[in-house]
Every structure is written in C-alpha cells, then in structure tokens.
C-alpha cells in the first residue's frame, strides 16, 4: 500500500509505501484504481463504491460529480442517496477501534472524497 501526502490530500496506491513531494494541486479525485484494505468490511465498501473499466474516475463520488457537473443521470436516477448512505457507513467504520492505521487512512480518504462530492451536490453533512 502506498500513501502519498500532497498538499494535505492523501493518495493511496497499492504495493509501495513511500513519501513523495512532487506537487499536484487539489485532492486526488481522479485515480483510476481503487485503494485496498485489510479489513474485510472496509474492502467490501471499496468494492461497492468503485466500478471497473469505466470512463468516469472516482467511483460513486466520481459519479456524483459527473451528475452535478453535466446533469447526466441514469434515466433520471442519481448516486446521491447511495453516496450519503456510504458516507454514514464510513463514519461508522471510523468509530471502530480495531482498524489498522493504514485502513483508517483509507477510510478517511474515502469519506473525505464522498463528503467533497456531496458538498458539490449541495448535500453537506
């Protein structure tokens, strides 16, 4: 697992752990690969949030942003309620004490991403 802090945003990638200082403005919302987790419940959340082989990066948060920015929906159906319920699930998971430090970072980053997307959609927590 790689954790890279850039301007306050945490980027998580698999297989490598290193610090990187190169500048990329803004949070990393456009990663193509989802993070991974040791905790099976968190891993299940990731699996449900992220889609494979897509034109839209960022999973459910990315879908919410796509809806907000383009007005595009799935036959009128939205990802907002799903994002709200997953946000609450991540908040619940983060209250647990048995998450590893790395999983806690991953969960917090996923939560922040959903919060940001929902804020763009006008749904502040």
């Amino acid at each position: 697992m790689r954790s890279i802090r850039r301007h306050g945003a945490i980027r998580i990638e698999s297989h490598v752990m290193e610090e990187e200082t190169s500048a990329t403005e803004g949070p990393d919302r456009d990663r193509l690969e989802p993070p991974t987790a040791e905790d099976p419940r968190l891993q299940r959340v990731i699996r449900e949030l992220y889609r494979t082989h897509t034109r839209i990066p960022g999973g459910t948060a990315g879908a919410v942003r796509q809806e907000v920015r383009t007005g595009e929906r799935i036959g009128g159906k939205s990802h907002i309620r799903k994002a709200i319920e997953r946000r609450r699930q991540l908040q619940h998971l983060l209250r647990r004490t048995d998450l590893s430090d790395q999983d806690r970072v991953t969960a917090q980053q996923l939560l922040d991403d959903l919060r940001d997307a929902l804020r763009e959609a006008g749904f502040d927590a």
Binding site: R44, T52, R73, I74, G75, R86
Partner: protein, 135 residues
C-alpha cells in the same frame, strides 16, 4: 412477497429479506455490527444482496433462487419511488456490470425494466460490455 404498494424506502430491506429469506442471517449479522444505528438500504443491497447474488450466479442449479431475487428487483425497478429504482440501478446493476461474465449470466434472469436499468448503467459508466444476444 409484499405487494408493491406496501413497499417503501424505509421498509424495503425488510421486504427484501421476506422475499429472499436466505439473506436474513447475513442481514442480521450486518445489523449487529451497527449497534444502535441502522445501515441504509444501499448498504444492505450492496454488502448483503450483491454478495449473495454473485455467489448464486457462480453456482449451478440456483435458477429458482435467482428468479426469486430478480423478480423482487423487477418489482422495485417498476416502483414509482425513484429511490427504490436507484437501489436496483446504482447498487445492484452497477455492481453486476463490474464482471461482464457475471452480468451476462444475470441477463437470463432480469426482468425487462431491470435489464433496461442495467443497459443505462453500463452506458453511464461507458463500459463496453453491452451484449444484446442473451437478453
């Protein structure tokens, strides 16, 4: 199975486990994890139903159970409440589309409206797997 007019967003999870009793144990286990809080329907449909559905679609001789699950999903897909439709589209169909082979197997059991949702979802995400021969 509940009549469609009796199903609402706040009781859809109970309706799901009534329609598919095999899910009840996993649902109860998930609820226990939440303590005093309740998981939302997207969480249950994703974490409980989707896992079960993938298992069924990768097993032999599960036709009856698969028909039962997809019959319930079709009921929700035809419901007037768009939030119930969203459960089918953005949580179930979306996830099935992650694995083209599983999605193709699922087409056999999908009702007309569920299949429509699935095609819309695949188009939204820009995924290539939109076969039409085995609908």
């Amino acid at each position: 199975m509940k009549d469609v007019t009796q199903i609402h967003y706040d009781n859809v999870v109970e309706a799901l486990v009534e329609a598919v009793p095999a899910l009840r144990a996993c649902y109860e286990a998930e609820r226990r994890q939440w303590g005093d809080e309740s998981p939302g329907p997207h969480v249950i449909f994703g974490d409980v139903l989707n896992s079960y559905l993938f298992d069924l679609l990768h097993s032999d001789r599960q036709d009856d159970e698969l028909h039962k699950v997809f019959q319930f999903l079709e009921l929700l897909a035809n419901h007037e409440d768009i939030h119930l439709q969203e459960l089918v589209a953005v949580t179930v169909c979306e996830r099935l589309g992650d694995d083209p082979a599983t999605l193709h197997r699922a087409y056999k059991y999908m009702g007309t409206r569920t299949r429509q949702f699935s095609d819309e979802v695949e188009a939204f995400w820009g995924r290539q797997s939109q076969p039409t021969s085995d609908a």
